[in-house]
Symmetry: C2
DNA sequence: TGCGCGGTTTGCGTCAGGACAACGTTCCGG
DNA sequence: CCGGAACGTTGTCCTGACGCAAACCGCGCA
């Protein structure tokens, strides 16, 4: 009675090196859980009693500053491992994960981590790579925040979103989950007002196409040029 | 003929779980190298052919943006492992490490990493924790850059420096290596002009004490209050 | 059908902090 | 001992982006 079938994790990079029997063994300890839109998978500060792999949907990971400011740390896409706090020797989750759309995740108790990594060292190596690439992303973001104008940062954010959760449609690339201007603002360290202004301007130029919690990139190439700082910030 | 003696790594957390014989085995593959002030340990973009543990001194890790802007990513203190690019599946170093003062580091060829982690799993676990805490730090910095004023960011930066490389002297806590206003600017995402102004103001209030490539915190407690955003940014 | 709420747009005033520039100071090498 | 370079200070100006506030829009719901 394996509660989780192998087929659902066929494309999860974390398990790439494992054979069918090993995979079953790992999955035997997991539970599959469904998270309705806007429900939290875990909360910042809560005890880190589990880690997860996202099967379906999209999560928004956010942190709140001591002063109450919210920041969107990143979005989680299917196939990713997340909530690995205890592997980093953290007792509590450092951030909150919220389902941006109805989502499904596999869930292991934290206690399983030491046992699984001991038995399957490739898991530890893969986790190290995942955390490493997350560190790369975060450092890239520090560099953006330190050296770029708001417009460039917004452009970068949109491109990144499109890359990891873009869906091709006739008129361009659509972000595959509901995302508000507020969310974009929290990703780029600015205010929703400024984001709204920028997107309105771009919409008039035909660069993007907006809507309620919806963003479509009509001209990613030009957007990229903007992000790179070429195009001196389209006057008037 | 072990080129490196056990005693020099007595306080390196990475090797905490290893016995004397195991330690010798690990150290047998290492070389100890001396880096004069201002020399580079490795360069951003260079092939990641080695990883390191700092024994003595301080390193400045910096990244250069495509547009040529430099950012100080962090400072490395004795006992830390660094340059673990290949463990994160990176072919090239993502940043440059420069000796802020004359420094000494242990150096292993990258090829040794898979072998050592296979034999001593605690190394992989420790590395995961190290990278994890680095990720925490970087995300904290993103939050600062996103939500705080320049003054608060500078205060935070000074406190962090003092914490990891502070030396108690009569008048307060001194940063233990030469650091210019430019460096502080590159840590906080601002310009050396602004940093200079801020530090001058603080010096007049007796909060800090400056000098050429030198910073002393005279009142860390008040500085902390400033960093937290209490004290509404000392008018006039 | 009308109401209300969450999300969005936009105008306007303000100001923190960046750009530019000139000058002072300390340190080092010849 | 002198000259220059690197580092730091300070003044002035200017603008990008934030704060506030008001209006708007579309969607879901009663």
């Amino acid at each position: 009675m394996p509660p989780v079938d192998r087929s659902v994790v066929a494309d999860v990079a974390l398990f790439a090196g494992l054979g069918p029997a090993e995979l079953d063994e790992v999955l035997r300890e997991a539970r599959s859980i469904r998270y309705p839109k806007d429900s939290a998978v875990f909360h910042q500060g809560a005890e880190a009693d589990a880690f997860f792999v996202l099967l379906h949907g999209h999560l928004r990971v956010e942190k709140t500053t001591p002063q109450g400011q919210q920041i969107v740390v990143r979005y989680v896409s299917p196939g990713e491992i997340f909530g690995v706090a205890q592997a980093l020797a953290l007792k509590h989750y450092p951030a909150t994960a919220v389902a941006a759309v109805e989502s499904i995740a596999l869930c292991w108790p934290s206690a399983a981590w030491p046992r699984l990594t001991a038995k399957f060292p490739s898991l530890a190596a893969k986790a190290l790579q995942t955390v490493g690439s997350r560190l790369q992303d975060t450092q890239a973001r520090v560099m953006e925040l330190s050296s770029e104008q708001v417009k460039q940062r917004v452009a970068h954010a949109l491109l990144r979103l499109a890359k990891q959760a873009g869906r091709r449609i006739e008129t361009g690339v659509e972000i595959d989950f509901p995302i508000s201007r507020q969310d974009v603002a929290e990703m780029t360290g600015t205010t929703l007002h400024t984001v709204s202004r920028i997107l309105s301007a771009w919409e008039q130029q035909g660069l993007v196409e907006g809507g309620r919690q919806r963003i479509v990139l009509r001209d990613p190439h030009k957007l990229f040029a903007l992000a790179e700082g070429r195009i001196p910030s389209a006057r008037s």
